[in-house]
Assembly symmetry: C2
Homo-oligomer: 409 residues x 2
Amino acid sequence: MKKSVLRSYAKLIAQKGGNVQKGQDVIIRASLDQPEFVRMLTEECYKCGARYVRVEWSDLGVTRITQKRASLRALSATEEWEEAKYKHESETLPVTIWLESDDPDGLKGVDQAKMSKASQARYKVRKPYRDAMENKHQWCIAAVPGVEWAKKVFPNEKKNRAVEKLWEAILYTSRADGEDPIAAWDAHNKNLASRCDYLNSLGIDRLEYKASNGTDLTVGMIEDALFMGGDEATEGRGVIFNPNIPSEEVFISPKRGLATGVVHASKPLSYRGEVIDGFWLRFEEGKVVEAHAERGEALLREMIAMDEGASYLGECALVPDNSPISNSGILFYNTLFDENAACHLALGFGFTNTLRDYDRYTMEECHQKGINDSMIHVDFMIGTPDLSIVAVTRTGERIRIFENGNWAF
Amino acid sequence: MKKSVLRSYAKLIAQKGGNVQKGQDVIIRASLDQPEFVRMLTEECYKCGARYVRVEWSDLGVTRITQKRASLRALSATEEWEEAKYKHESETLPVTIWLESDDPDGLKGVDQAKMSKASQARYKVRKPYRDAMENKHQWCIAAVPGVEWAKKVFPNEKKNRAVEKLWEAILYTSRADGEDPIAAWDAHNKNLASRCDYLNSLGIDRLEYKASNGTDLTVGMIEDALFMGGDEATEGRGVIFNPNIPSEEVFISPKRGLATGVVHASKPLSYRGEVIDGFWLRFEEGKVVEAHAERGEALLREMIAMDEGASYLGECALVPDNSPISNSGILFYNTLFDENAACHLALGFGFTNTLRDYDRYTMEECHQKGINDSMIHVDFMIGTPDLSIVAVTRTGERIRIFENGNWAF
């Protein structure tokens, strides 16, 4: 991939994704796959005025060995210095950038129950610091190709060619392959905002999903929740940033307890380094009461049992079938992309900032209003070319907002 | 390189280098060059019974950008959580393994004065924790090839071939390419120990170095200091480990204040990612009073001025010209190897455990006895094929211990 193109992509992530402010710290979390790009991104963050950019490398191979060999007790421990680090981050509010590149199947075969228990134990210590940062700092998830991931997406290509093709696909779907990616994102953000404005004007009480694969699901909304999409603003300082690159979705957090019916996943899901495929869920009073998968069913159940909130919905996202990711025809086996190719739902925590005037409420009050709380947030795709969604308004009007997988307005 | 050979090398580092004990933590510090080997080493540490192995990756390219772009203030800061981490390590005493692979010239052009000031500031916070760990935990420095390093050592080879040749050179010089590297190291440790026994029986008052390049230096010894070589034991638990792989040296820490004369370096020195070459130093009353270099003179002066102890000697090491590293004929541009191909000295801190019964003294008392203290410890090579060393004993006897660059006994 040409250096100048990669440089533009690095700028996009630093300026639009993280919108790094003068004097702000940045943390970049990356695997070892694209060190040259990580260096570029580091430099672009400094050019935005970052005080200090910390790159935290990790390796899925080492994680795999660690999860296998270390005791549950060792994996569950949070050392004092780690908690001090969480505290430091919750106080200094660094921009956090994740560069995804890992093998979607790289942790296959790892003891998922052990891994869950360890995460649960560590999450208990981490949660107050995560809550303290929520909505208050910029963050961005973007992607770079790793060899194993590229080989999974393009199994018939040789390593180097597969990586090159995955770079092309990432840059195309991220609207980062043109002359001026930043201008492209300005236009894109504007478009998503106008979709939200329309939806928010309807006074939606519930969404009814239907597709020929058996999906027949009704999800209730919170009265003062708003659809969001594209860029967001941090609470307080109001710094605008794009949390996902790419992003095609318009989303909302539904009301906990108001989902009823069956929904079928339309794409495989890579969760914790392992693929779950061919699955469906049945909801009653908002909660998953039945779950089946052709592949990875045990892991699916593990996921839903992570904590109490893991079996409730945290997000309803609308993505037209006609989007760059969907049009690329590529199955990425990575949620950042696949979720933006199709309508999706998420199990786990909801987004408190989807509430109107959310900054006037405590976290507790947000949850009382119906925003779900959990340690997980896992998107899964439900969009199909024949998906229809009807919005039932609080005045009882039925408005078709999705038809044949695309916006009906 | 064959996987089985690399696996043996990983075992050697885990078992002989670090001698990881059951329930002990391990920290592996590595660059991004050989993730597959780092995974093997991680696994071998767990097989020894490690409680938790933490791999801390870093990248010289990112370091370069950070040193250039971040302010001196940001570079000098130690965050509370970092200090908590030092404290944790000083209390839990993990085995620490460094896997060197960086470009010896990878930080060339970086502002060395800024880098020194930042190190000095950070060292102040770190020092008490480093002191608290001294002699109490196992550590090991070993090497794996990085592409830039390999291209520097084998400039006429293509990348992949250069890396392959550097693997071969590392494994050969580390006595890790045979059937049973662990047995080879047992024999080697025994041989080095018998050299030490002989030297320690002489009652040496001072060493006189002479070579045709102009070297004419006398270095005084501490009365109850001992020559050491090969494996060492931790204080308290007495765990035997090999701090350097490879290691051919027999060494002692001289008495601060007793070096007089001139010494010429016989090989280039890579210090902080930049090469210093063609240099000589003049000592008076133990202190460097004159320093010249054909290349990197400013950096050499920076190094000597790091702190008060940086201009005094901390180590005298004897290495025969007839050793695997020297016989390989390769200039590695890496101290771990080059120091083991030739007699060398070190500027900066000495080793308190070279004192007989060192564990009965406080750090302060060790320094009063003449062990130098500093934040740096930089070896530089002085061995030549015509180097002679005479040991003058406390009874006035003159015993030739080195002749024509090799052991004279």
